[in-house]
């Protein structure tokens, strides 16, 4: 079993690496259009946040429908840092610190939300995260922060009330967001962060803490009677999930010129879209989340040529994926087929 698990994890890393190499080769030979290249980084951060959400929904068994809120926190805190220190810290250390800041703030918010909510049993987390996702967007939209010779200026009214000196620089400009964040993210960094997220989640699942988390998912009454600290483990899983979503946010903000807390990227619909990736990739199936996120993110973009039929085809794909992943008959068939494949391989080795 141990070896089987390790092998399974390695297959996941292998799929990501193989995909990365293929894309790199395509880029070098110039086979990718600039439109396609522009889709690569978003694809990695959506895959990362899908992994994060799967940890929350599939492994911990708590529904979160505001995960884009954590992505939003990671995006804004890291972008703020990068913009503020753009001229004082060299790129590489600055980007690394930006990652640490984005992850830490998203984790902090996950932790704070978890304190009251994760003590409760039931669907309260879904309600609270839904509200959190909407609130954080509106709060950030009313922030005005600037830096000048005297230091930081903060207002929640408008940019004029910051009272900046002439040399001042307005970093967060209310609903206009943060403009001019350095474009440090690229496909390679995205894939590296995705691999790290996969490493963290898959290793967690196969550790003592991961087993406790899944035990809570399967039966919290029995878990409690077995001496498992329910609230502690729920907090741990949810905080890690929020932290990974924050990492996705750092990639997001360092790949876009104007970062605004808009509904399009951080709203309810965006969070539901991530949930769709997770559900169709298979709840609790980490590898499935990555594949589903990539396919379902790329598909509508690639279908832009077929404008009229775009959403029709997209919805058909959703239905097909649902059947393939959830129909018991198909799952049985898949097991039979794949079972045979691995059996043959085992024979060859012998």
């Amino acid at each position: 079993m141990k070896n089987k698990i390790t092998k399974n994890n390695l297959i996941t890393y292998g799929i990501v690496l193989a995909f990365y190499i293929i894309v790199e080769i395509l880029m070098m030979t110039g086979a990718l259009s600039s439109h396609m290249k522009g889709l690569l980084v978003p694809m990695t951060y959506y895959a990362i946040i899908a992994v994060a959400l799967n940890l929350c929904v599939g492994i911990l068994g708590e529904l979160s429908i505001g995960h884009c809120g954590f992505m939003c926190i990671g995006a804004f805190t890291s972008a703020f840092f990068s913009r503020a220190t753009e001229n004082s810290i060299p790129t590489v250390p600055r980007f690394i610190i930006a990652f640490i800041i984005g992850i830490a703030f998203a984790a902090l918010f996950g932790f704070l939300i978890g304190i009251p909510v994760l003590r409760l049993k039931g669907d309260y987390l879904a309600i609270v995260t839904l509200a959190f996702g909407e609130i954080i967007k509106n709060v950030i939209n009313s922030f005005y922060i600037g830096i000048d010779g005297k230091g930081l200026h903060f207002s929640m009214k408008d940019s004029m009330s910051l009272g900046m000196e002439a040399d001042g620089d307005i970093i967060v400009n209310g609903a206009m967001g943060i403009t001019g964040t350095p474009h440090n993210a690229n496909f390679t960094i995205g894939v590296v962060v995705l691999l790290i997220s996969l490493f963290v989640v898959q290793n967690l699942v196969n550790s003592r803490d991961g087993r406790a988390i899944m035990a809570i998912r399967d039966n919290y009454i029995a878990a409690e009677a077995t001496g498992i600290n329910i609230t502690g483990y729920k907090m741990m899983a949810f905080t890690i999930s929020a932290a990974i979503a924050g990492a996705a946010g750092v990639l997001f903000s360092h790949n876009i010129t104007t970062l605004t807390a808009s509904s399009q990227y951080f709203g309810y619909n965006a969070s539901i879209m991530i949930l769709v990736y997770v559900v169709l990739g298979g709840i609790g199936n980490i590898r499935g989340s990555v594949i589903a996120a990539c396919v379902l993110y790329l598909l509508p973009e690639l279908l832009r040529g077929l404008n009229t039929y775009r959403m029709l085809i997209y919805s058909i794909v959703l239905i097909v994926m649902m059947i393939v992943n959830w129909s018991p008959k198909i799952i049985e068939w898949r097991k039979r087929t794949f079972g045979r494949v691995s059996f043959r391989r085992a024979k060859e080795v012998a």
Binding site: V200, R208, M214, N219, A225, T226, G227, I228, M236
Partner: protein
Amino acid sequence: MALLDVNNLSISFGGLRAVDNFNISIEKGELYGLIGPNGAGKTTVFNLLTGVYKPNEGIIRLDGEDITRKSTIEINHAGIARTFQNIRLFKNMSVIDNVKVGLSEHFKYSALEGILHLGRFSKVEKEMDAEAMRLLKVFDLDAERDTLAANLPYGKQRKLEIARAMATGPKLLLLDEPAAGMNPNETKELMDTIALVRREFDMTILLIEHDMKLVSGICEKLTVLNFGRVLCQGETKEVLANPEVITAYLGE
């Protein structure tokens, strides 16, 4: 001194006194039965002992330690493990992982070591695997170690639940209607399993049961509950011969 000492335990739900002035004293190594008609308050007693409900009055001592108002988790760490009337396994986890969840209080490494798979991780996991396999072998479940718990047949699910409870290293094991839903053959096997647990682990057991064959076959002492009150208490033979018990529970 008795291993489990319960004095004047009472709890009310609204106007209903579900358990009233309950006393029990279980010596180390005993196999004790708790019987009574439906609704007599047997499971409520279990829930009081494991901290699911907090009693209105009374005191519970385990090995001299007062555990009356502790949480379920603390009580488990203090040394009481239980199984449930309707089996509660971690269904989507493998058989061995179910047992390893039970072991996690005794085999520790930090969360960081768990995430990075570094440091004590490999060593402790190996020890855990060995200990889990030892337990599974006792319960004859070692062949199913990688099966999902949900896919086990009913009798083996019961065994796994007991194995998981034993993994937490308890001083006292509570079994809530272990023979519920079993055919006579499975019940016979269960009796062997319970005898095995006593022999292998020198375990003190308190069980709730309706199956009189099982109760009279293996329990040394009995307490009969009726309407939340203790009706009769003592050696199994004497209790089952008591006319009051026969009228209230067994029938002529």
